[in-house]
Symmetry: C2
Subunit: 409 residues, 2 copies
Amino acid sequence: MGGTPPRSPLAPASFPDLPVIGGVEFATIGAGVKYAGRKDVMLARLAPGTAIAGVFTRSATRSAPVLDCQSKIGGDSTGAAAIVVNSGNANAFTGRNGVEATKAVTNAAAKALGIEESRVFTSSTGVIGEPLPHDRITAKLEELAGSLSADGIADAAAAIMTTDTYPKGAAAEVQVDGQTVRIAGIAKGSGMIAPDMATMLVYIFTDAAIDQPVLQDMVSAATDLTFNCITVDSDTSTSDSLICAATGASGIRVTEANTAFIDALRGLMLDLAHQVVRDGEGATKFVEIHVTGAHSDADARTHALSIANSPLVKTAIAGEDPNWGRIVMAIGKSGAAADRDLISIWFGDVLVADKGWRAPSYKEEDGAAHMTGDKIDIRVDLGLGGGTATVWTCDLTHGYISINADYRS
Amino acid sequence: MGGTPPRSPLAPASFPDLPVIGGVEFATIGAGVKYAGRKDVMLARLAPGTAIAGVFTRSATRSAPVLDCQSKIGGDSTGAAAIVVNSGNANAFTGRNGVEATKAVTNAAAKALGIEESRVFTSSTGVIGEPLPHDRITAKLEELAGSLSADGIADAAAAIMTTDTYPKGAAAEVQVDGQTVRIAGIAKGSGMIAPDMATMLVYIFTDAAIDQPVLQDMVSAATDLTFNCITVDSDTSTSDSLICAATGASGIRVTEANTAFIDALRGLMLDLAHQVVRDGEGATKFVEIHVTGAHSDADARTHALSIANSPLVKTAIAGEDPNWGRIVMAIGKSGAAADRDLISIWFGDVLVADKGWRAPSYKEEDGAAHMTGDKIDIRVDLGLGGGTATVWTCDLTHGYISINADYRS
């Protein structure tokens, strides 16, 4: 990788001030997995009794750490737990070596923290197909375990970055019976981003006390409306992982009936998902695509993703070109039901196409004006039924090509 | 559109010398549909009795000319026929106006040539969603009809171009009972290219005498192995059309039993399909992806297209980076069956990955050496069964972004 790409023009002004979550401590270190001169491993220690839920990539070639995590989610929650993440190497498609590398890291973390190996969850992100130099990580675990701190979450967000141009964090507070429950989350991801899951790593921590099956249901449902509704380049990674840990340190119990907590968790996840899109490789525009009037929500989603993943739509947006013909094309090719002569399209508030052809009121300069902003809103009504969906993406620019034609060499 | 993009580095040295096909005459003219200073309309007149077969886009938003052609294929073949094609405007998503524009062109062509309107086939290619200025075309039809010539096929190939950087043609000869049957074809297309159908227009002419249903079966079968196996950017147009006309002027009858003719037709179509990929917008590498060992041919095709359409694979190729991890990723996300630990991958003759991880014999410099060529061969064996597929694509470069972020403005 050549020099660091510049910070995305769509980045938030600064990393948010994340609250300390009782029951979680962080440590980070530079282990030289691939990158020199930066921190590339993070350790999180979770208090005994922490419930841990997870959502993972559905890729048929998912990595050894993903398979290891999946086998551990839902196990006994009695003891303390840990999350170990390295950037620079995905430990994916590394065969038996990959399984052994994962085992070496989980074993070393368990020893360093004095916990059960079945409670150690690891993620690896970066290049696929190269053996993970796991000894560089295991050599640092004692030092990491000795430097844990309750306020290290910002450093953790930075340590898990690969081609990200900024660290991603979000927080929420929820009042439960007059007491405050806190949630904080971090994420990484900027390319190889597509649903099921978007290619990324996400770690969310709350001091609420939540039974593991309840937490799993909450996280799975929220993922479908957040991380599974974003796409940068239609490519799905082998390593996508979301882990949510509820430490219970607040002493406040949250159940499946607490809609305020569920909404707050989903809002936090949507915030992180949008931050990933805003860091889409080469992105200069944040794009929301809202489809209504489809036969079903599933059809609406198929159309929305076909638009969001179309290279011709994405390059038109990059060029600030209100080329609504390419949106028609993307609807036509999606495979979901559409009737050409019922389709209407808006750019922002501007009605562009009305029931199958250019709206009489439409002026190209109005569409062009909307495209000059850095938030693009595309709305499509299919005129067929009540199905709706919203997805988010970014434009496709020279920056994407520069980053990805030169990532590994 | 700014200046004309430079001729693709993958273009053939020159336009081939196409034979005159008895029973077909061509004329071209500059009608100013969109482009100034170039020919943008072509007319082909086909002798009475010509059998006409067609394959068209499956887009749900297909254009008025496509729908009109589809309704006419398979009709009575007694009278003379015509093909009228304009570039610059696709007459797609133009509502009632689009139907009227198509009707105006077919009507004017029928009058100018003294033939039935049911024997006039039209195609329009270019911008979607803008009303076709059909009067500019109809105003020229008498002049076109007056300038028909048997050797005008090369001009026709040029007149149908949009973002193409070179005209595309191919020819074949077949011996039938000691006599020669000729086939000549032209095509346009360079972006919005994906299967079902690849986004393009293709016109093929033969002097063989073939019954229409037989010709249709031949063309449909060959399309599945040629134009439906190429992709530039995964985008499918609203206008894709392939029309094949058998004039019978040679007096030589060809039936479904003539495998030499079928092979020659398929070979010619594959040649044209490859020429379209070689003119892929911004392309610098021609890529063949061959998948073996899948559960089924359909699964092999799904994997091959997932690899061919992956922006991360295509940018890696642009960067001459032997990043086989991205191929693993594309297999994993395709949805078709794969077992991570059985996958093998080759770049050219170089075994890169062997049954799930990097081949012990693999040296990065060997993979890198293959990537420096302008023909890239990627072979994947899934180790599951006997399914195979081959697809062709190109790399994704800064050139694609430049062309498509600035096409319409």
